[in-house]
Amino acid sequence: MPFYGPSGAAGAVTREGGNTTEATTTSTTAVDLLSASSLSIAAGSVVEMRCLAGKNNGSATEMDLGFKLNSTTVLSATAFGTGNARDENFIIQSRFIYGVTGYLNAGEFSAVGGSADAEVSNVLSRSFRSAAMPTVALTDVILVGQSDGTTTVRADELHIYSFATS
């Protein structure tokens, strides 16, 4: 029996109340996968990012995740997860004080999660080791994803919080 997809608003833009879904990729090179744009965060702001990421049951490899601030890759696509052929999903968190000269690699990017069929949770943490943070206003935060070409890497719910400094 043919499968008929759900009808809904066509086009690239979804407004509140419309249908949305996760971002996904099968690319074997780094892809700008999930982005929060139109931000206006000044240097010196305390910033937290949270999002969800995962990989579908494909081949026995990790998924690669990276992080960009504006167009600067502060963390290149790096292996997260386990090298097991199974579904895995993670809560991703990044914390940093944005754009303070002298502390531009001081950022944390971490993933905690695992699989429903394995009682193992992975805690993986990386610093902003690929490049220094920009010092101009932060307008775009991007989660970068990379697959091995067989597994689907997925991500959703990217949220950015900036806090008043005391």
Binding site: G5, E16, T21, S27, T29, N56
Partner: protein, 219 residues
Amino acid sequence: MLYLFAGYPRCGLNAGGLQHCVEAVENLGILEHDPAIVYAKEGVFVKHGSAGERIGPVEYRFSPRLEADGITWDWFYEHWGFGGGVSAHKTTANRETEVVDHRSGESLRDLMALGRAPLDLSKLLLQTVPKRTEGWEKYEARWKPGTCPQESHVVHVTWLATKHRLPSFAYERLRAIIEEPGTALRDVERYREKDFSPTRKWTVAPERPPELALPGGRL
């Protein structure tokens, strides 16, 4: 060749499912999977270790619907990574607002700033208006003039990198699968549960004006 389409696949396929459709089920084309070939905004590169050599500009094709929505090559910022294979990208843009006096246009925050005279609120006509922040203006400039949605929204763009140009029948079939609601997949029994992503309604968190921020500056 890079093919870009508006939205996410309306039939519910995720990137892996769309790849399965293109390469295994309907044989519409051959995707680029070489990890040494990098598609970026600045061109196509070949990776040599940690370095890269530019081999030419990106050949791309936007679907008519994507262009009608206001998204062109300029929508993608500097150093955008398109990757290979299939990607279904998602961008969220949230519109900040502020409370202003309708008559003077001054924000409530400015009217009550330290050093200003006491304010008689009964003399104000208040309204919440969109705020033109630096981030919003930079984002709006990415769109074709007059097409950027003026409220919080989500943008989905699906793209595929192929080794060769697609024949017209393959391109139109792909476009229909991605952009046309109700397009039926063929040989549906060959798809697996992992080939699909669920859809859900998108809701925006209740907005709280900065003047009513919670202790600690939280909004």
